[in-house]
């Protein structure tokens, strides 16, 4: 067992349970619970004049109906603005139940609690709400024009305006040899996990405690929110995260109205209450992301070196801003990618619209950023008639320049300093993988067959592992089994496996002896959550440190028992040994027994730790600076984020008649530092790329001008099936470790999705010879572009 499991494609320990139907997701729990159904606004913007529940009261099985009027104290206050920012001068959040006004179609107005969901929906359907419709503000253009306002007291619909810059971009552009302007747009998509949101709440009147299960990315966040809203002490609230059927960002934003009502109602009713979100509700009342418009001005020299970059963008944040400015701040900073423009200025407005709120979705502002920067690079190359790779290369930050200070403030309020990466090497790998230099031959051969193909590429740098901290607890049982807990949650990333790999190596135990629990506040109360590609970096590091603490103690206790020097000892396969002295060893479980001085022997093993058996009678059984038990607890809190990076390339074929786009090849080179489990790394990349393809070619939120989401179902929201994703994603890795954490690792959860729209836009543009400035693009869109392009060309000839 001296082989390191870190870096091995260890099979996932969670799989067997999930493969045999033993997974436990939120709605698999609480079969005895009452169910919630929600009355939601059909209007995007309206005043609620009256709510008549009379008809609902006849429904057999109805237990309660709640409207805003029932709420008191903190429950009647707006939901928290989770991440305040000085630039967010006009932050607004919704109420748990609408207080007189609704600002998006789907906003909760009343909640029904009934014996089951069928009955709850029967009752909800009978509640009559009288609305006074107000003018709708939908889309960035309408928000900017501000003919109408979403919130009466927010002038211009502007929630925030933020400028960051270094140097003098505008002046640099003025004097640059070449200049370009681009207008770009990216539409909305959404996380859309296969499992929606959900909350189950139980109130124990005898112990005066609230226990909540939630399909969440942050159990500690929800716990704190519930305690505050329900005026309970934190110790009286427990939040448990069962298996979670995907998150991708949307489950980080708590409290949702339904969380609060479920918990509040279960306490009032003294019965368990559950909310299980259905698919339609997920579309109209969870959260979306991505919608931004960019105006870019860039000045560059003859080689394509960017001398000045001035980016103005408008971010549609929906009706409320519970998650602050995280998404546009990430866009504005991560836009820089692997490049070092001499001067940079970025300014954004974060705008209110009468649509579902916007909070991070995997990538969180980076797909827009990559789209803006990579389209700019391609435009520079086109303007100069230079190779797209070469233009990027002259702009790359070089490895010798690391750590590289970008002179910006990142989403965590800390300096944007790249810690590691070798961008030229990553590019060299990508060129080789996709066959960049041989592509003209491919194109010619395709043309000969009457086929149209194109190639595109895109680069990104991703700040991962943002703070403030995560913690880990490693507890060694007297059986020798190791129990690990960390506070952040799991939605399919295989934490139970990768954290076990880390602990197995640190402690010297078989990986199958390590059991990991995540997202259970009973086991670990201090945590932030799972987002921003931070779990491996943050909890992985914390757990490694905790395991080191446990190991140090194990060696100390064993050294005492074996009368050896701890420095001469090691743990191999669960046994603490004196190096080079075969036979001088003690099982880790026994060390655990010895670590806890006992008065009572509960079993055979513990006899050896009772008071007449061990210990120096002249010393306290537990030393002054020690604790009983064989465990370690530690936290990891980095000074700033660590920056992973990657580059993707794709070859596409476009149908000359139908304008359908087919991805012939998709290649990824990624640098997340040392990989804990390459199988899981590749799985994360696969999933990210598929989501990226969805966002580039299929998915969008079709709002009409009245704020109605026209495609609020899987029938019309076109999440890709297998038939829409590339058949094969080719992956290569570069592993440049970060100096910022004990394992040298960088995050990767979001990586796959980030550059896909940029890459596919570039490839389609290359195939078609038509500038692609807006994504996603459907065959109909491409066909219309062709037509417009042809018309323009014809006019030009006239």
């Amino acid at each position: 067992m001296t082989d390191r499991v870190f870096g091995q494609p260890v099979k996932r320990v969670e799989d067997r349970r999930m493969l045999t139907g033993g997974g436990q997701y939120l709605d698999d729990l609480g079969h005895d619970a009452l169910q919630i159904a929600v009355v939601r606004s059909p209007y995007a913007h309206a005043r609620v004049r009256d709510i008549d529940v009379t008809d609902a009261l006849d429904v057999d099985g109805l237990v309660a109906v709640y409207t805003y009027e029932d709420l008191i104290g903190p429950m009647a206050e707006p939901l928290p603005l989770l991440i305040p920012h000085p630039a967010l001068t006009h932050g607004r959040t919704q109420y748990a139940l609408a207080n007189g006004e609704v600002n998006y179609a789907g906003e909760a107005i009343a909640m029904v609690v009934a014996s089951d969901r069928y009955t709850a929906e029967d009752a909800a359907a009978r509640i009559v709400v009288d609305y006074e419709p107000l003018p709708d503000v939908v889309g960035v253009a309408a928000a900017r024009t501000a003919t109408h306002l979403v919130h009466e007291d927010v002038p211009g619909n502007v929630g925030a305006n933020l400028v960051q810059e270094f140097g003098d971009a505008r002046a640099a552009i003025q004097v640059a040899p070449h200049r370009l302007e681009l207008d770009l747009s990216i539409e909305r998509s959404a996380s859309t996990p296969l499992e929606g949101r959900g909350t189950l709440a139980r109130w124990d009147e005898e112990s005066h405690r609230l226990r909540v299960w939630s399909s969440t990315q942050t159990s500690t966040g929800l716990r704190a929110a519930l305690a505050a809203k329900l005026e309970l002490d934190l110790v009286d609230v427990e939040v448990i995260t069962p298996d979670v059927g995907g998150g991708f960002g949307v489950k980080i934003v708590h409290p949702w109205p339904e969380d609060l009502i479920a918990a509040w109602a279960c306490r009032r009713l003294r019965r368990p209450v559950k909310f299980t979100e259905d698919r339609r509700e997920h579309f109209i009342s969870a959260a979306h992301e991505r919608g931004q418009l960019h105006h870019i001005e860039v000045g560059f020299d003859d080689e394509g070196r960017v001398l000045g970059l001035d980016v103005r963008f408008w971010h549609d944040h929906g009706a409320y801003t519970p998650y602050g400015l995280i998404v546009p701040i990430i866009t504005s900073t991560q836009l820089l990618g692997p490049y070092k423009p001499a001067n940079y200025r970025v300014e954004f407005d974060s705008l209110y619209t009468n649509t579902v709120l916007v909070t991070p979705y995997r990538g969180a502002g980076r797909p827009q950023a990559a789209f803006a920067m990579e389209r700019t690079m391609d435009a520079i190359a086109a303007a100069l008639g230079r190779d797209r790779v070469q233009v990027r290369e002259v702009n790359f930050i070089q490895p010798a320049e690391m750590p590289y200070d970008n002179h910006m403030t990142f989403q965590d309020g800390r300096p944007l300093i790249y810690d590691s990466g070798d961008f030229p090497a990553t590019m060299a790998k990508l060129k080789k993988l996709v066959g960049w230099d041989e592509f003209e031959g491919v194109r010619t051969a395709a043309h000969a067959e009457g086929r149209t193909v194109g190639i595109g590429l895109g680069c990104y740098v991703e700040g991962t592992g943002v703070g403030p901290y995560e913690g880990g607890h490693v507890h060694i049982e007297t059986s020798g089994k190791v129990k690990v807990a960390t506070g952040l949650t799991t939605q399919g990333q295989g934490h139970a496996t990768v954290f076990a790999q880390i602990v197995a190596d640190e402690l010297g135990v078989p990986v199958e002896d390590v059991e990991v629990v995540t997202g259970d506040t009973r086991r670990f109360g201090y945590a932030v959550g799972t987002f921003a590609s931070r779990s491996a970096v943050m909890s992985g590091s914390a757990i490694a440190l905790a395991a080191r603490a446990a190991k140090a103690k194990a060696l100390r206790v064993a050294a005492d028992a074996l009368e050896a020097n701890p420095d001469d000892m090691e743990i191999v396969n669960g046994k603490v040994k004196v190096k080079g002295s075969p036979g001088q060893e003690i099982a880790l479980g026994t060390v655990a027994v010895l670590s806890n001085p006992l008065r009572y022997a509960f079993d055979k093993a513990s006899r050896s730790a009772t008071q007449f058996t061990v210990g120096d009678s002249g010393k306290p059984p537990v030393a002054e600076d020690d604790e009983p038990g064989l465990e370690g607890r530690d936290y990891y809190s980095p000074p700033r984020s660590t920056f992973a990076n990657g580059m993707h390339a794709a070859i596409v074929e476009t149908d000359p008649e139908t304008a359908e786009v087919r991805i012939l090849r998709y290649c990824v080179v990624h640098d997340c530092g040392p990989m804990i489990n390459p199988m899981i790394v590749e799985g994360q990349i696969h999933g990210g790329v598929a989501q990226g393809v969805g966002g580039a070619l299929y998915e969008r939120m079709h709002y009409d001008e009245h704020g109605q989401l026209l495609n609020a179902s899987f029938m019309d929201f076109l999440m890709p099936y297998v038939t829409e994703v590339p058949d094969g994603i080719e992956i290569d890795h570069l592993e440049t470790p970060t100096p910022l954490n004990p394992l040298g690792i960088k995050g990767l959860g979001e990586a796959g999705v980030i550059p896909v729209s940029a890459v596919l836009a570039a490839a389609i543009e290359d195939a078609e010879g038509i500038p692609i400035r807006s994504m996603p693009i459907s065959p109909s869109d491409l066909w219309e572009l062709r037509r417009a392009h042809r018309d323009t060309a014809t006019e030009g000839n006239d």
Binding site: E121, R280, M715, S780, W783
Partner: protein, 276 residues
């Protein structure tokens, strides 16, 4: 997303079924495969007082070739039609069915049900229309056979009256020398087509030669076009078809793109059928 309550009826024979339907009139809805109906019930877009489940009408569970037609009973699932001899007798059925949603849906969905559903994007409506098939409707008062040309009245609207049960659809078998194809463009594989074309061609000289199309998703009902006179020229065929359709735009495709596709797919369908 749970259905509103309804009263459930499960007749054992067609006679029982139509008797119940006569009594309930337009307060009842027939449940066959339910692959379109059940989502609408769950979304509470539809909330009939009664549901008449015909899944026990074993007498309607058949696919047979008789009298020059593939006759499909109301309980035959798409998969049955795909698998049984039907496809050999009328290859267009198989060509169309592989485009109807996904196999799991076809395991339960019925061919007759999807025709009665009269979705303007339904592949089978085009098959029935281009072949000039018919639907047999039975009520307590008797039965009638409605030809395809009279059956589709509008989007999601067929000639079936509330008291009538569509018991059988007849698809004429392929004529001698005839061949067919079904091509479509859908956003995702298995989605409703943005545009789709069923083509039946018959080789031969003079009056024997024939080329007919039925298009879906470009009109409220399947649009049948006789393209015999233009079938041999891509340009003429494309121009003729694009001139005949008046599609609407929606969130997935503009009207002009649909019109363009109709022409492109018409050519592809005819060429593919000719090559078959």
């Amino acid at each position: 997303m749970k259905p509103a309550p309804f009263e459930y009826h499960r007749p054992a024979t067609v006679a029982e079924a139509v008797a119940v339907m006569a009594e309930l009139g337009d307060t009842a809805k027939v449940l066959a495969g339910g692959q379109s109906l059940v989502p609408m019930l769950s979304m509470r877009l539809a909330a009939p007082d009664h549901l008449v489940d015909i899944n026990r009408l074993a007498e309607l569970d058949y696919v047979r070739v008789a009298d020059g037609a593939v006759k499909v009973g109301a309980l035959a699932r798409h998969r049955d039609v795909e698998r049984r001899a039907a496809s050999a007798a009328q290859p267009l059925l198989g060509q169309a069915l592989r485009l109807v949603a996904h196999p799991t849906i076809r395991n339960r969905g019925t061919t007759v049900g999807s025709i009665v559903h009269a979705d303007p994007a339904g592949e089978l409506t085009a098959v029935l229309a281009v072949l000039g098939g018919s639907v047999r409707l039975v009520s307590a008062g008797g039965e009638r056979v409605v030809p395809a040309a009279d059956f589709f009245l509008g989007p999601l609207e067929s000639a079936t009256r509330p008291d009538e049960l569509a018991v059988e659809v007849s698809f004429p078998v392929a004529a001698d020398g005839a061949s067919s194809a079904f091509v479509e463009v859908a956003r995702r594989h298995g989605d409703y087509a943005v545009c789709g074309v069923a083509a039946v061609v018959r080789r031969g000289s003079g009056k024997k030669a024939e080329a007919r199309l039925a298009l879906i998703s470009v009109a409220a009902t399947p649009l049948v076009l006789d393209v015999t006179m233009v079938a041999n020229s891509d340009d003429a065929l494309r121009a003729y078809v694009t001139g005949q359709v008046e599609p609407s735009g929606d969130i997935h495709a503009s009207a002009d793109y649909r019109r363009h596709l109709a022409g492109v797919l018409a050519v592809r369908a005819v060429r593919e059928a000719q090559a078959a």
